[in-house]
């Protein structure tokens, strides 16, 4: 396919709560990706960074910040901010540059340092800011994920045991990933014993925020062939579509959904719309997918994503889980990296980290986490204000 690019290298800085400058994580991830690719830094002609909003001006111009830290060598730079989809938009910018013939090799990199303490909105009386309004009324981030989880229970018969099983599954996968922050295995009893945060979600159903970095070296297929890497995994599709009005699911930080009262307007689910373009662009269907990395902000949300990616009919993701289909060794393993459950959120890096995992899986280099014969992988991410992404990687 003419719109494919090659993934030559993948690299990460281990995720945790290190408290260092984000640039250090990005540089470590970039150097790991360069070394994995066997590409000299001076060959990289485009540096595409995912921005961080939490680390001052260097974070707003992350592409330039990383290029300078790695040593200015005249490459062009780009910085993308798209909440949790920042990494995918940075990858899309690199792909455009490569497919336009303007460069052969690009670095895509994102890293973050999370602030200490609670990230709360500014004070005062600011009803024009939806984030201020919802916190004033006592509606926090877990509220939204708990509302979705409760619907699964009432509509599909999902149970607390199912949600705990997602945590147990992802913890088992993460325990085999040296890059993950949490590498401890848990039992269903451990999850059940953790504190209730937002009924039905407990502390262990919800992901933390982390420091971390992830990077990819991508190139034209021609370049990959020239350096003897013609069989490198390919980026086959990148979907970063916005939602379609009217959004029928209440999303953070809003206090209400859109209204679908106008003639010709229907309520839509944003999550479900994201992979549709990805499948079209890759020319494949969900039945071709072997492995998925999805945005498990909560255990129950992983089940929603499995259905949104059409890997199970609506309402049947928990049945896949119960059969062991989504575990390593199952029919369609999900979050073999351990997912956000084991990594925690590092906003500009997480969409890139998902592609790192798929790259290693498709090359057969995932060690104890290896999914036998994985040929096609898909990712899913969703952040604030209509930012989301789904990327398909093919062997």
């Amino acid at each position: 396919m003419s719109n494919e690019i090659a993934i030559l290298g993948a690299g990460m800085h281990p995720w945790g709560k290190w408290g260092h400058n984000f640039v250090q994580y990005g540089v470590a991830a970039a150097r790991a990706a360069l070394s994995d690719a066997g590409v000299p830094w001076r060959d990289v002609r485009f540096v595409s960074g995912g921005a961080t909003m939490r680390c001052g001006y260097p974070g707003y111009v992350a592409g330039a910040t990383f290029a300078q830290a790695l040593g200015w060598q005249g490459a062009e730079v780009n910085t993308s901010y798209a909440a949790c989809a920042s990494g995918s938009q940075a990858l899309a910018a690199a792909r455009n540059k490569i497919l336009a013939g303007e460069c052969e090799v690009a670095l895509v990199v994102g890293a973050d340092t999370t602030p200490k303490g609670f990230l709360a909105p500014a004070g005062g009386y600011r009803p024009e800011d939806p984030d201020w309004v919802r916190f004033y009324l006592g509606i926090t981030n877990p509220t939204y994920f708990a509302l979705y989880a409760r619907r699964r229970m009432d509509l599909y018969g999902d149970t607390l045991e199912d949600f705990a099983a997602v945590k147990v599954k992802n913890a088992a996968a993460g325990s085999k990933n040296p890059l993950a922050r949490y590498r401890k295995c848990f039992t269903p009893e451990d999850v059940a014993a953790s504190a209730m945060v937002a009924d039905p979600l407990r502390l262990m159903d919800i992901c933390a925020t982390s420091d971390g970095g992830a990077a990819l070296i991508v190139s034209s297929v021609d370049y990959a062939k020239r350096i003897g890497k013609g069989d490198a995994p390919r980026v086959a599709a990148i979907s970063t579509v916005t939602p379609t009005f009217a959004s029928g699911v209440v999303e953070m930080p809003d206090i209400a959904t859109d209204s679908a009262a106008a003639v010709g307007i229907d309520a839509h689910s944003y999550r479900a719309s994201l992979p549709i373009k990805a499948y079209e662009e890759a020319g494949i269907g969900p039945e071709d997918v072997n492995i998925a990395e999805v945005y498990d902000l909560s255990t129950a949300l992983e089940l929603d994503w499995i259905e949104d990616l059409q890997l199970a009919p609506r309402g049947e993701a928990a049945q896949l889980l119960r059969r062991g289909d989504t575990a390593i060794g199952g029919r369609i393993p999900v979050n073999t990296s351990g997912g956000l459950a084991c990594f925690g959120e590092a906003v500009p890096a997480q969409a890139i980290a998902q592609i790192c995992e798929l790259t290693w899986q498709l090359r057969g280099q995932a060690g104890e986490r290896q999914v036998e014969g994985a040929k096609v992988g898909i990712t899913a991410n969703q952040g604030l204000f209509g930012h989301g992404s789904s990327v398909i990687v093919k062997a």
């Binding site: 609670f118 709360a120 909105p121 004070g123 005062g124 009803p127 939806p130 201020w132 309004v133 919802r134 916190f135 004033y136 009324l137 006592g138 509606i139 926090t140 877990p142 509220t143 708990a146 509302l147 979705y148 989880a149 409760r150 619907r151 009432d154 509509l155 504190a195 209730m196 945060v197 937002a198 009924d199 039905p200 979600l201 379609t244 009005f245 009217a246 029928g248 699911v249 209440v250 206090i255 209400a256 959904t257 859109d258 209204s259 679908a260 009262a261 106008a262 003639v263 010709g264 307007i265 309520a267």
Partner: protein, 144 residues
């Protein structure tokens, strides 16, 4: 009883009294509702209207989903001391074809809620200041 005056926690978002309603706007062209109010541009992709009328939204709807806050939310939430957990509801309004979040009326826990049950709007205290009781909208199961 306190002799403090009742005042809306957020000015102009709902009517006062014992049959309270949320106040939104409606696009004069396509009929899309907005809560909170939208007066500048219509978000329907097929409509470029900038004319809106203020409307009171339906007082009741169906419970779309629910949860609770087991831990004290951070500021600007003003918590009672000691903190009392509260339930939270998302209620779907039929005519407006939209879902609105809010706390659930005091004393009602998640075990008393079920998706699809009819809910209605009430006003209750959110917190008190030195001279006012700040009230806000909350959702309450409709009792037959």
């Amino acid at each position: 009883m306190s002799n403090k005056a009742l005042a809306p926690a957020i000015e102009g978002w709902h009517t006062m009294g014992d049959q309270p309603r949320l106040i939104g706007t409606r696009c004069c062209d396509c009929g899309t509702y907005f809560f909170p109010k939208q007066n500048d541009y219509c978000k329907n992709p097929d409509c470029d209207s900038s004319e809106f009328e203020e409307v009171e939204l339906s007082r009741s709807g169906e419970l779309w989903s629910y949860t609770n806050a087991s831990y004290k939310p951070p500021a600007p939430f003003v918590a009672a001391d000691p903190f009392e957990p509260f339930a939270i509801a998302a209620v779907q309004l039929e005519k407006e074809q939209m879902t609105v979040l809010g706390q659930v009326a005091g004393g009602i826990g998640v075990e008393q809620l079920k998706i699809g049950m009819p809910m209605e709007l009430v006003l209750e205290t959110l917190h008190e200041t030195d001279d006012e009781i700040k009230v806000t909208w909350k959702w309450k199961p409709v009792t037959a």
